[in-house]
Symmetry: D2
Subunit: 177 residues, 4 copies
């Protein structure tokens, strides 16, 4: 079912249960069903909640930021980062943006994808997308790895970098501008 | 402008700036404007946000819990509790409920009131209400005072009890059932 | 895998794809894994989001109301109610409450269950629970079926009643108090 | 108390009660207290809610989008746009971004400012900022005026344009890129 690169990735990834890793891959069926473009391999699924929609009948724009945060956290955990906590290095958002293409409504089944596009020493840049019959919204975030309790910037651990590069081979190098 | 009991309360309350305390009293003008019943003296003001409303065009039921939490926190701070933090005693919710009487819509100006109705040793019970041309929603919560970092129950400090009793003289004694 | 009563229910339920229905049953594996007590058969799964947790490190109490709303909506859809929209009958909350037993933290995998406990003519009462190594929170809601656009109360459709009774045979009859 | 340009603006603005308008101006006291830079005149006040903060102890990044949405809505109402509803023209977000400079914590008193920076025929661009001892976060949004019920783009009403230009004289002309 999985293509070769993904199987290779499975060997590289040292963390997370096999089930979690398998669940976070975009399958070919899903790629077609949701209209996901090439270049994205990590995904979480979601059904738009009633409480995420506003009186225009659409998912409120802030809900996408929550979804993308969830996709980011799971992506980083799958790549070997410890689950977020005040005492271990975690991503702090320096900047984030979303461009909205098609509105989403209550009960819409969507696929949320995440990928890294740039790796610096202590900072990196990710992209996120929401899919349903094609691209509905595209997001990006510039992130800094920080130990929250001390506020100190942290160098991206080598294992995390390797896992990210194995998953997203197109990553550019250097600090996000 | 303020009636005698309120001035007496001002003398008792040892914490918070005079401005904050004054701002959190229900004025007679407001009492009439919002249709607030007797028995409530502490209030915060709010205008319903767009992001708090759902596709039915009404404030989603979970928004009221956020408003009442804010009213609770400010009430307790005005009564002398340190602002919430993991290392000082703070209220943990054992149980909470809301009865909804009239829906609220985007941009509605509302008054949120809070009062204590029962005081135990480490637990207490509060009520909250949302007002706009009369009562729109009535809430209650059973709260336990806990130091979050250790998880330990804490006896309600005597100063806090006094300030609560000065504000809400009708409080019953004994642990909430 | 499924026990006999569940297969009988599958025959009764006229709406929803088989996949959706199958996904919303508590499996025996899950019953054990999450410590779900007997008397609950409908469930949705969730992983606690970072944005649902507060500085105490726990899921904020209002997140449970969002989860239970999602469980309610899916339960009612699985029982044949059209997905929520302003022009078709939908549940309006008259009253809702939650009792919290054990806190939940970021990334906790939880099971959210829903059941009907009382059926009136235009109103009904449901219960909800959050499970992780046993019961973490128990909720209830008194609901009225209303067409939002007109504000009119609606009699519970016979098909909906039948499906609810097939799923939750212990339902009591009569309007919630 | 108000400087000359603001008084002139008061004469121009045809909508909203004088009280609302007065409340949404940055006073000189506030400008100093919050460290607001020149070029911003419209503001709403907020105290960071407990439910807006995450386990890092900071306001979660999505809360800022809710605050800026509230500031945008009030700014547009003060400039003469009817309060948001599905049947009248309202701003739909094409794109939005925030850059975070300093974290905010529970109970922080903040000032949220809004201004228009570019006006097209049916679209426009706004900026938002959160202030507390200087700039804490800077946001922008590209907005399209749409009647939600029909989905049709709408030309910005002349009165709205005039009020915006009176408030924010530095606005550039032409569609946001």
């Amino acid at each position: 079912m999985f293509s070769a690169p993904v199987r290779a990735l499975d060997l590289l990834l040292g963390s997370g249960s096999p089930k979690v890793r398998r669940m976070s891959e975009v399958s070919e069926t899903e790629r077609e069903r949701y209209g996901v473009e090439p270049g994205w391999s990590f995904a979480v699924r979601h059904r738009v909640r009633w409480s995420e929609c506003d009186p225009f009948g659409h998912a409120n724009h802030r809900a996408y930021f929550e979804w993308f945060e969830e996709a980011r956290n799971r992506y980083l955990e799958a790549a070997g980062l410890a689950p977020l906590s005040p005492n271990s290095p975690g991503p702090v958002i320096a900047e984030t943006a979303i461009r909205y293409y098609h509105p989403l409504a209550y009960a819409d089944e969507i696929l949320l994808t995440a990928r890294t596009v740039r790796l610096g020493r202590t900072s990196f840049e990710m992209e996120y997308a929401a899919w349903r019959e094609g691209l509905c919204a595209l997001g990006r975030a510039v992130l800094i790895l920080v130990v929250n309790a001390t506020g100190e910037k942290t160098v991206l651990p080598p294992g995390l970098r390797e896992n990210i590069l194995a998953r997203d081979p197109g990553v550019e190098m250097g600090a996000p501008r």
